[in-house]
């Protein structure tokens, strides 16, 4: 074989690994407050459930990744407890946007021949131990060096840190509190059709606007729930995934974590416009690599740490024009029965808080046509969906072909992933 000048062009695979990897297993614990379990125990349940969902055994898993922020257990512990010997593992520091980022890393390490199948988990007692809202022991932690520039001003929790981004969007584009509240209304509607959601009550715009103010522009009901739970997804090559008994979700593209200029959590305000978030940059990787655009997507999973984060990301990933996010989230588009529902399980606002992974799990279920709602099970054990989205009913979307997950770390950083239905 003659080596030519173009030998650095890889022609044996589709561009950017598009369609070469899949999520073939999903697992979770219940979403609750008061787990009465360690994060190690929660993780063991979630990873074990995902292995069972994939129809695999411990011997089939040889890679493991996890993310946490000093509040969880590490991969070697969980692998040990499940009898898994690892050829690759690492635990990273991170919260929101880690899920999609780690899927990308899993694809990379499998592609590099370092392992074959990777379990990615997040285990947290976000209510019972390290509270996600920043109250309890986290609120009294000593403050050093760089942190003085914000925490000393009572500018510490996620809501407080992000508030200037949210407020400036209202100023720049005339976004109203009513428009943003529609995100909670939609997600609570979805959660009411999700038996495992922590909050299953449907809320109105007035409910959101009359809930107590936490940090303007955030009312209580603009903020996510704190729960205890663990979640897991299993990433493998498509050819291996097709040996699994259930349908896999094919990974079309991953972007991130992508940052804004000067995009760390404390510095991103130096780079404007501050009402623009990292999705503005991530979309230039996500859509070309996936070979589709926002108009092709059937369901979104835009991270809802707050109502605003869902809106900002949908806008900056191009689901609507810049500045029109308020209209987009309030005109029915993002609700079940609408053109492109968002967070059909209820997301972080209602189902439970997992730093993003439950939204990926939901989209895998939607692509399989197996949303775990209250619809009756058929003889084959699969839900017989009614597509009646009234309270307590169905939450499966018809004929889902493509989903997009938009992970949020903070205004300056995010990750995203496009998945497709497997027709084989």
């Amino acid at each position: 074989m003659t080596i030519t000048g173009t030998s650095d062009i890889e022609t044996s695979s589709t561009p950017y690994l598009r369609g070469k990897y899949a999520i073939c297993g999903i697992g979770e614990t219940s979403y609750r407050r008061g787990s009465d379990q360690t994060t190690r125990s929660l993780a063991t349940w979630a990873v074990g459930n995902a292995i069972a969902d994939a129809g695999m055994t411990a011997a089939d898993i040889d890679g493991m990744l996890s993310y946490s922020s000093g509040d969880s257990t590490f991969a070697p512990h969980v692998a040990n407890d499940l009898g898994i010997r690892l050829n690759f593992y690492t635990d990273i520091y991170g919260g929101g946007s880690s899920t999609e980022c780690l899927v990308g890393i899993a694809m990379g390490v499998i592609e590099a021949g370092m392992c074959n199948t990777v379990a990615i988990y997040r285990a947290m007692n976000g209510y019972s131990q390290v509270r996600i809202g920043g109250t309890g022991s986290r609120s009294a932690a000593p403050i050093n060096g760089d942190q003085i520039h914000h925490r000393a001003y009572g500018w510490q929790s996620a809501g407080q840190l992000f508030a200037p981004t949210f407020m400036r969007h209202m100023y720049d584009f005339g976004t109203t509190p009513e428009q943003v509240a529609a995100v909670k209304v939609a997600h609570s509607k979805h959660a009411s059709n999700n038996p495992k959601a922590f909050y299953r009550k449907r809320y109105s715009i007035d409910d959101v606007l009359s809930s107590r103010m936490i940090c303007k522009p955030l009312h209580l009901l603009d903020c996510c729930v704190e729960t205890d739970n663990a979640t897991c997804i299993i990433v493998s090559r498509v050819d291996r995934a097709r040996d699994c008994p259930r349908k896999s979700a094919i990974i079309q593209a991953v972007a991130g974590r992508v940052s804004k200029p000067r995009g760390d959590i404390h510095l991103h305000y130096q780079s404007g416009p501050i009402s623009t978030v990292a999705g503005h940059y991530a979309r230039d990787i996500l859509w070309p690599n996936a070979g589709v655009g926002p108009e092709d997507i059937d369901i979104t999973g835009s991270y809802d740490a707050f109502t605003f984060t869902t809106m900002l990301q949908l806008e900056d990933y191009g689901f609507c024009a810049k500045g029109e996010g308020g209209e987009y989230v309030s005109n029915g588009t993002i609700e079940l029965g609408g053109k492109r529902p968002n967070n059909t399980a209820g997301g972080h606002l209602c189902e439970g808080y997992t730093h993003g992974m439950n939204m990926v799990i939901e989209n895998v279920r939607q692509l399989r046509g197996e949303a775990d709602d209250s619809c009756p099970l058929g003889a084959d054990g699969r839900p017989q969906h009614t597509y009646d989205y009234s309270e307590g009913g169905c939450r499966q979307v018809r004929d889902v072909e493509l989903t997009a997950n938009l992970g949020w770390a903070h205004p300056g950083a995010g990750s995203a992933m496009v998945m497709a239905r497997d027709h084989q």
Binding site: A152, Y153, Q156, Q160, A163, P164, T165, M167, Q270, I274
Partner: protein, 173 residues
């Protein structure tokens, strides 16, 4: 010895080895607002860092910067997270765009400095004062001594400046 002080129930520490923050807060304690200016690019940066974020150069000088600017955005805290702040609600977190270097080195760049809205004596602003302030309000910096040898930059309404007729505030009061 590290600079250390107790403020609002928080133990604030600046370690000796944290040269940039040490210099910044030492100037604050002396009543001066100084930022690093890169020797070659001439660009100021905030907060203190080791390199110029636009050129990567590590040589800089601490220069006095005028503490005046416009409220670029804000958050208004009604449910405090840190215990000692619970007695201060509502309080404002201001993101102030300095006049100095606004729109440089590119259109949307600016030195944006955080802080609380305080009265001219450095005490937390009253609810009445808070209701007068929003996006567009002109503010000036006051150095607030919070512990022995430790001061924080804070913001108060600039009485000398021309103010907008009605600064933009979140619609629900």
């Amino acid at each position: 010895m590290p600079v250390q002080g107790e403020y609002m129930g928080m133990l604030l520490t600046i370690d000796d080895l944290d040269g940039e923050n040490r210099a910044y807060f030492d100037y604050c304690a002396g009543g001066e607002f100084r930022l690093q200016r890169s020797r070659n690019s001439g660009l100021l940066r905030y907060p203190p860092t080791t390199a110029c974020p636009w050129t990567g150069e590590r040589e800089s000088d601490w220069v006095v910067v005028e503490g005046k600017g416009t409220v670029h955005s804000y958050g208004e805290v009604h449910h405090a997270i840190q215990r000692a702040f619970k007695g201060k609600v509502p309080y404002l977190i201001l993101l102030v765009e300095l006049d100095t270097q606004k729109g440089r080195p590119s259109e949307h760049d600016a030195l944006r400095v955080g802080g609380n809205l305080v009265a001219s004596d450095g005490s937390f602003a009253s609810p009445e004062q808070i209701r007068q302030v929003g996006i567009g309000t002109r503010v000036r910096m006051v150095m607030s001594e919070v512990a022995e040898g430790l001061a924080l930059p804070q913001w108060t309404v600039d009485e000398q400046a021309e103010q907008p007729l009605s600064p933009w505030r979140y619609p629900q009061e």
